[in-house]
Every structure is written in C-alpha cells, then in structure tokens.
C-alpha cells in the first residue's frame, strides 16, 4: 500500500509538470485565446440568422434550401456517396439490433419462448443486441455524421472519399461474421468485447479506412480555427482505435486484472467514443439549424478538456464492491462525480442556445430530436455521477436500473441525436425531400413515448429489485418476482421504440429508392474548396 501511494504521488507530480508545460505552450502560442466570433465558423456568409431546416418541416412551403452555396455543394457532392453507404449500413443494423433487443426483453418475462435452439437463448440474443446497436448503428451512424459535417466545417472536400466506402463494406462484413460467431457461441466472453478478436482485426482495418480520410481532410482545412465540434471528433478518432486494439489483444490479461481492462474499455466506448461524437454533433447541428452561434464559446473549451480528463477514468465504477484495489475504485468514483463539470459546461452551451430560440423546436423536428438528445445527455450524466456514489451504487449496482441508465445514454442521447442529424442531412445528401414528412413526427413520438415507458419501468423496478436483494430477511425469489411487471413494461416501451425504428428505416429506404421529388437546384459549379470564412 505504501508503495502504491508513493507511486501515485510521484506520478501526480510528473503529470502536473507536463500539464504545466503544455499550458505555457498553449498560452504563449495563443491556442487558448477565444472569442465568440470563432463560434460562427460553421456558417458561411448569409447563413447566420436564418434557420436551416431542409425539407423536413411540413408546415413551411419552402422546398428549396434557403441558401445555396456552390462551394459547399462541391464539398457535399464528394461526401454524399460515403455518407449514404455508412448511413444505409447503420440503419440496417439498427433494425436488426432492435429486433434482437426486443426479443431479449420478451424472453426475460416469457422464459420458455423460443428456447429450442442455442442461438435464441437470452445470453446470445442480448449480446447480439448490444453488439449490433453499438458497433453497427451508433458507430457507423456517428461516423457518417462526421464524414458529412467535417468537410463542411473545414471548408474543404473530403479526402480519399472512396476509402470510407471500402471501410463500410469491411466493417459490415466483420459485423456479419461477428453476428454469426456470437449466435453460434464463438465469443471472447467479456461484455462489450464479445466479437472474437480474430474478427476484431478486420474491424480495426475497416476503422482505419474512416480515420485516414478524416485526418487528411482536417490537415487540408481552409479555416484556421477548429470549431469545438472538431476537437471532440478529432480526439475521438484518436482515442477509439487505441482503446479497441488494446482491449482486444488476446492472452495478455487474466482474472481480476482483465476485469479492469474490460471496464476501462467499455466505459470509454461511451465516454471517449460515442459521447464526443454525439456531443460534437450537437455542437454543430443545434446552432446550424437555429442559425445562431452557441451561447458561450469559451465555456466549450472547459467542457472538452474536462471531459477528456474525467471521463477517461470513470470505468472502474462498474467494479464497486468487487475484487480490485480500493483506491482504483475510489478514483473512478471521484472522476464520475467530477463529470458534473464538463456536463454542465455542455448543458449551458446547448440548452441555453435552444431555450433562447425555442420557436425553432416548433418548426424543426430534427432540432427536437437533437436537443432532446442533448437533454438526455445531461440527465444520463447526472444520473451516472450520482449512481457511482457508494451509498446509491450499493442499491442499484446489480439491477435493471443500470440497464435503464445505459439506455438513457446510449439510446436517448446518442440515438436521438442520430435520428435528428439524419433527418437534417439526408435531403442535402440525396438532393431530395423526405417523401413522407408527417411520419417524422410519428417516429419522434413513438420513440419518445416508448423510451419513457422503457426508462421508468426499469429505473423504478431496478430500485425495488436492489432493495429486495439488500434485505437479508427476504428470499432472493422476491427480487425476481417483483420485477416481472416492470420487465413487461419495458417490453411495451421497447416494442414502441422498435416500431419507430421500422417506420424510420422504411422512410429512409423510400428516400434512397427515389420515391420523393428531387429538390430543384443548380448543379455544383466547382469542386474547388471555399476560401477561409
């Protein structure tokens, strides 16, 4: 123990020295000077002050995008094919992943349903749900957003636009192989890391086909300043490959140590991958749709670095009360609580911007999706910080409450953001309006109502389950039987969410199959990049 504390103290000292050196460099090279004007990087001349809602608001007669920018049209036409390939893949995985999720949910209260084959057992169906919605839907969908927005933000066309298409094909092949492997019982066996490591090699190769074009595009940018969205995205595409490769290296870790690697990885998939990608998307789409810059640009700097520092160390709160050293558990709890800092910074920026322009929520369903997603990020993070505190954690740790919490983050935050972004992007990607605009509102209410039922069922049921397990005078049986109505409620919510996803995928497919009128606008005049804004 003495050695550990001494080591940690020495380490803190060295790290502080490095941080100080970096701070001096950053101040002296004016990396830290901020002004609100930089928040306007995302607009081209004439865009600011006008809401941007292409072809999704049925109330308005405007069928033509309000502002036509030939240079950006040149940028968009390069990104359109890779973005379409990525989104079509993501939406397919969403449908399959949702069906597996609904099946798993039903099996928990109908345990004798579909029990004749191993691939239909709860343990495999649940795993397929998580794997497909995280690596298929969320990751590919968010990468598609990055491929679309980053070139627009950097005022230059996407470099190597064919690589992401190859990447999408390889990624899909890897996921199909992974799905078949898990369904047949071939798994690495750790949560979030079930895809066999042999298949993970293909995923890693595919991932590099996404990272390389983005880095090249960022390096060739025509704006001096990198907008806040760019910090989150550039950091995320550095973090995730490292996390994924280290956590999947086989035969290195054993036992309790392997558990720390497992949760270091699994929480960082949320914290350093899905979260920065989706928060960055919010930082772009919210001001873009409203037509006004975010509330406080300098606050976004604090939010970003605090997220990097604190979120990277929260993972071991999954092992509270477990067989790992006390100090590392406590470290993760402290960092979990510190997450209030970056979350409040993002909340002030995003929610105040929306609240000051609440009129936009009435006209723009994409903004409704994205700002509700941002609210759910705040709520999920607050809930996570509180849930890591020992006295709360001991009740909810091994219960369905955790599943509800995970879905508040990974579904209500990430997926709502994705839905909104896709509804906003696709008219520009395809050059067509959405064929059935009214179903967008229906989709919104299906998934919002479904998720509400889902979340409150599991949260309330999970607390009762945890209290029953902590009470030594009650048999274990009580914690199972009391949960049943809540599990049924969760299935109702999950069915509504799945219905929303089927509607969404049908609408998406109809748009790709050209069931909607083409939006008339002139062909791109040039593919040369715009000059610095």
């Amino acid at each position: 123990m003495g050695l550990t504390i001494g080591l940690l103290l020495a380490l803190s000292f060295v790290v502080s020295l490095f941080a100080l050196a970096f701070l001096i460099w950053a101040v002296s090279s004016r990396q830290m000077s901020f002004d609100q004007a930089q928040a306007r990087t995302i607009f081209v001349a004439g865009e600011e002050g006008r809401p941007d809602d292409p072809g999704t608001a049925p109330e308005t007669d405007e069928k033509v995008p309000h502002h036509y920018d030939p240079a950006r049209a040149g940028i968009d036409s390069v990104s359109a094919r890779p973005v379409t390939a990525l989104l079509a893949s993501a939406v397919s995985w969403l449908v399959l992943g949702s069906l597996f999720g609904l099946t798993a949910s039903l099996k928990l209260h109908w345990p004798d349903w579909l029990d004749s084959a191993a691939w239909l057992t709860f343990g495999r169906v649940r795993t397929l749900h998580l794997t497909l919605v995280i690596y298929g839907w969320s990751s590919l969908g968010l990468i598609a957003i990055v491929m679309w927005v980053a070139p627009r933000m950097f005022h230059t066309k996407l470099r190597h636009p064919n690589l992401p298409i190859i990447g999408a094909v390889l990624w899909n092949v890897a996921l199909v192989v992974g799905t078949v492997a898990i369904a047949n019982g071939w798994t690495d066996g750790e949560e979030w890391l079930e895809i066999p490591w042999q298949v993970d090699i293909l995923l890693a190769v595919a991932g590099s086909f996404f990272v390389l074009p983005l880095l090249r595009t960022a390096a060739a940018r025509n704006v001096r300043h990198i907008y806040v969205t760019g910090w989150y995205w550039m950091a995320a595409i550095c973090w995730f490959p490292v996390l994924f490769v280290v956590a999947n290296v086989p035969y290195v870790f054993m036992g309790a140590e392997q558990a720390t690697v497992n949760w270091w990885f699994a929480h960082n998939v949320l914290g350093l991958w899905l979260t920065p990608l989706a928060v960055g998307a919010g930082y772009y789409f919210i001001p873009k749709i409203i037509g006004k810059p975010i509330y406080s640009y300098s606050l976004s700097l604090l939010g970003f670095w605090a997220l990097a520092l604190f979120y990277s160390q929260v993972g071991i709160h999954h092992l509270i009360g477990g067989p790992v050293p006390t100090w590392v558990v406590t470290l993760s709890i402290v960092h979990s609580v510190m997450m209030f800092v970056p979350v409040i910074a993002v909340a002030i920026n995003q929610h105040v911007t929306v609240a000051q322009n609440s009129w936009a929520l009435k006209t723009s369903v994409p903004l409704r999706f994205i700002s509700l997603g941002a609210v759910c990020y705040t709520l999920a993070s607050f809930q996570g910080s509180v849930g890591a505190i020992r006295s709360i954690n001991t009740v909810v740790h091994f219960t369905q409450y955790t599943v509800g919490h995970a879905h508040l983050g990974a579904y209500a935050f990430v997926s709502f953001t994705l839905f909104g972004a896709i509804y906003h992007m696709m008219p520009r990607v395809t050059g067509r309006a959405w064929p059935w605009p009214r179903t967008i509102t229906l989709h919104f209410w299906l998934v919002v109502a479904g998720f509400g039922i889902y979340f409150f069922s599991l949260t309330i049921g999970g607390v009762f389950q945890g209290l029953a397990m902590l009470d030594a005078t009650r048999p274990f049986e009580d914690s199972v039987t009391l949960l049943k109505p809540y599990l049924e409620g969760r299935s109702v919510g999950g069915a509504l969410m799945t219905a929303g996803h089927l509607l969404f995928s049908a609408h998406f497919t109809a748009m790709l199959l050209r069931r909607s009128p083409e939006v008339p606008h002139p062909a791109p005049m040039a593919t040369t990049p715009a000059v610095a804004a």
Binding site: Q31, I226, V246, Q258, Q313, P323, P325, A472
Partner: protein, 204 residues
Amino acid sequence: MNRILPLGILALAILAFATLLLVIVPGMQIRAQPATPGLQPYTQMELRGRQSYVSQGCVYCHSQQPRIPDQAPDGERGWGRAAVASDYAYDSPHLLGTMRTGPDLLNVGARLPSRDWQLAHLYQPRSISPWSIMPAYPFLFTVKDRAAPGDVVVAVPAGQGPRNGVVVAKPEALDLVAYLLSLDRTMPAPVNGERDDGYARIKR
C-alpha cells in the same frame, strides 16, 4: 484550439494516463499476489464447461463476486465470503458480471453440490423454482426411448419432462455442470487479498 497535432497528442496522453491508473498500476498489484491457497486450476472438462458458460451468456444474469457483509448480505444468502483478486487467478475470460437477475455463482458448487439438481435445473429451471425466469436449455439434452449404458439420465420432476422416453444429458451439459460444481471459493481468503474495502465499517 487551432492545431490538430497537439490536440491529438494531448488527447492520447490523457488516455495513456487513465490507462496507467485504471489498468497498469492495479494490474501490477493484482499480479503480485499468488493464487489463493487451496484454489485449484480448472480440469479440461471444467474448462470445456466454462467455455459453455461463456458462450451461453450466463454472465449477463449471474455475477461471480460476493461482497463484504458490511455492504450486502451476500454471505447470508450462501453466496460465499467476499471475493479477492487472487480468487480469479485461473479465470480467462473473467466472469465477474454486472447483473444479478439470478444469484451470484462464485460458490454455487459448494451451495448446490448435486449434479442431478444442476442437470434438472438446466433442463427446466421452473421444474424446481416455479418463479424462476432463467432460460431453459433443452438443446443441451436429448430425449431417448430408453437410456443406453453410460448415459446420464436427468431426474426431471414428475410432469415436467417429455411424455415418453428419458432425458439424457449431452456431454456439453455434463461439462457445464462440472464447471458449476467446481465453483467453490470457500477456502479462507489471504489476509492481504486485494479487493474494494470501501464499504468496510471501521471496527471499534
């Protein structure tokens, strides 16, 4: 921020720092401890059964990490003493779990040591515990007209089995039960065992 390279370097440095604290230093502490005295490595049959436990996804409902009495009544429920890191010296992949839809299983071999009970429970959990929501695993068994020599016949409670014939355990079921019965950490924990003692109340 106006530069990509410093952003990437600092972002990766922060991740490296987190990795050092969450993985490398605790890993050094955990590796410094020998396996709990009395803990046996798994046999080939138990390892096959463990692989089956992994591939069926048992870990998604069953934890393998009893906690200290100051935190939770795991011991009173018969789930065993609080686990320490060295109890898992032979475990890969680890199966600590994050959910207790079903009970903790780190000591199920000591708590429910009957092979017949385990086989019948795997074949149809509700034949033993009507309230259970555990999946049944009929595909780990075959139904035969009559048992051949060497067959292990499952003692399915009356009315719960097939109308005709007997239920015979496939080798996979026997391996899985061998693994479950090997789950026994009732030997005393080493005094300096690593675990989260954050809930320990100070003894007067």
